[in-house]
């Protein structure tokens, strides 16, 4: 009945996972939802484990969500922000991580501006690595919380039509969503200006819509991405106003759809650009349930990656260390 390391050592993305593993994470997240509804929002599961949140890019919601997940599992947590760390003094990523590891940590949650940084780190340290977003590659826990939110609403993922709208080019959220949704049997489309779609998007097995009206008509759910203004150094779109006019998700457009379309957004929103306020706050928006699910999904991932070290049982038996058993 036990299986050590059902996900392996690290969570680097949804691409390397099987559909069964993704479903296991979603199923495990279910009971974790209840913990956040308790008066005492804490279980002792990760007591004594140390988790480092290593953030080389600004993030509030993802970091806070991970921190809540870690603390509700009783882990000890440390936040390291790149701007305040020795990284700004020229230390390499591996040196930073090895120094943290020398202080006996168990897990690293990392966000990094370079695609592949999490995999690079995972190969070089013994601690579990959880990718909290690497460049434009993947943001697996966001993909998982989107899947959980869709499953909560539709009771299934298989056969759903989900369209990812907007800035797919810069979006690791889009990539994790596409992998996760397709592995669980959903139909996936993307919609956005051609300048904001990756050139090889067709190879990911998705439908491409160039008109948001067509995308809305096709979809059961829209995952509206944030226009990543800070990553756009030049000329991807003529203006925000024009973007809103042609690609904005507005109430008028949704009202013309043949069915109610569920609205997801990974946040933070640019209200009035990719999404209008009355959609974001409307009856079909699950933007806040996404945030709630984020904590549960991250608790599930931390739990499934943790423990399972038989050598600690041996050490406990021979009295060499105070093992948990």
């Amino acid at each position: 009945m036990t299986a050590a390391a059902p996900l392996g050592k690290d969570l680097l993305g949804l691409e390397p996972l099987s559909g069964e593993q993704i479903t296991l994470i979603l199923d495990t997240a279910e009971p974790f939802k209840e913990i956040s509804e308790r008066a005492i929002k804490k279980v002792p599961t990760l007591r004594g484990s140390t988790v480092v949140n290593l953030f080389f890019e600004n993030s509030t919601r993802t970091r806070v969500s991970f921190e809540f997940a870690e603390k509700r599992l009783s882990a000890d947590t440390v936040n390291v922000a790149a701007s305040a760390s020795s990284v700004s003094k020229g230390e390499t990523l591996v040196d930073t991580a090895r120094n943290l590891e020398a202080m006996r940590i168990d897990m690293v949650v990392m966000r990094h501006p370079s695609s592949g940084a999490a995999a690079f780190l995972a190969e070089r340290i013994e601690s579990n690595v959880i990718n909290a977003g690497d460049g434009t590659h993947e943001h697996p826990t966001q993909g998982l919380l989107d899947l959980l939110t869709l499953r909560d609403h539709f009771n299934k993922i298989e056969g759903l039509r989900v369209c990812i709208c907007g800035d797919v080019l810069h979006s690791r959220v889009a990539r994790s969503n596409i992998w996760g949704l397709r592995k669980l049997g959903a139909e996936v489309a993307v919609c956005g200006p051609r300048s904001l779609l990756p050139s090889a998007i067709d190879e990911m097995g998705v439908t491409v819509f160039s008109r948001i009206e067509d995308a809305i008509e096709w979809s059961d759910a829209l995952n509206v991405l944030r226009l990543q203004l800070e990553r756009m150094t030049s000329g991807y779109i003529p203006s925000l106003r024009e973007y809103n006019r042609y690609f904005g998700v507005t109430r008028e457009r949704l009202e013309r759809a043949p069915r109610d379309v569920l609205i997801l957004h990974p946040g933070p929103m640019n209200r009035g650009v990719e999404i209008d306020s009355d959609v974001a706050d409307g009856p079909h928006s699950v933007i806040l349930p996404q945030v709630t699910n984020g904590v549960a999904v991250r608790m599930a991932v931390l739990y499934l990656l943790s423990g399972g070290r038989p050598e600690m049982a041996e050490a406990a038996k021979t009295g060499k260390s105070g093992g948990a058993a």
Binding site: D27, P44, T45, S306, G308, G323, A324
Partner: protein
């Protein structure tokens, strides 16, 4: 080495035993006021459901029934690793001041009950916590004793006591599985 299987309780015996346990729970508490029956996932929940139904049949009162999954309170995560399936925990209302009867299928080392006590404490402060088990097979590793016991079984350390329930196993019985060198 062969597996030797012996039926300790058949479906009728399980029913009779649970009826007696339900009676003892109500008698020991002088009625059903403030009583909450909490089953431990998974088979303790099925047994708790049946005890609640038996109390209803005899006393005409539906006692609140909760479920406790103690997976996240285990003391062997670091060594054995995560149990892939974590069940639901559902405690009906506030437990402060009430009498909580924990129901489990088999009492062995007592570690599950230790974890259940820790978890219950996170939900409040019951006036009293009692333990009812269908089978007590001995072999305790902690100072924990049941208040209501269905049947005591002499089982050796390598033996297994399986409690089968309708919903999960298709039949109701208690089976002792022992390995023997022939």
């Amino acid at each position: 080495m062969t597996e030797h299987t012996e039926t300790i309780l058949d479906a009728n015996a399980v029913e009779r035993t649970l009826r007696r346990m339900a009676g003892e729970i109500v008698e020991a508490n002088g009625g059903t006021d403030n009583l909450i029956i909490v089953g431990i996932q998974r088979r303790g929940v099925q047994l708790a459901d049946r005890i609640v139904a038996l109390i209803n049949a005899s006393d005409g009162v539906t006692v609140p029934r909760g479920a406790l999954d103690i997976t996240l309170y285990r003391d062997d995560l670091q060594t054995i690793g995560p149990r892939p399936v974590v069940g639901a925990t559902d405690i009906p209302g506030a437990i402060d001041g009430s009498t909580v009867v924990i129901v489990d299928d088999v009492l062995f080392t007592g570690r599950t009950i230790r974890a259940a006590l820790d978890e219950l404490a996170d939900f409040g402060r019951p006036a009293r916590i009692e333990l009812a088990v269908l089978i007590d097979r001995g072999g305790r590793e902690l100072p924990i004793q049941p208040d209501v016991v269905g049947r005591k079984v002499e089982a050796r350390p390598g033996d297994r006591v399986d409690v089968l329930v309708e919903d999960l196993d298709g039949r109701s019985a208690v089976v002792l599985v022992s390995k023997r060198f022939e």
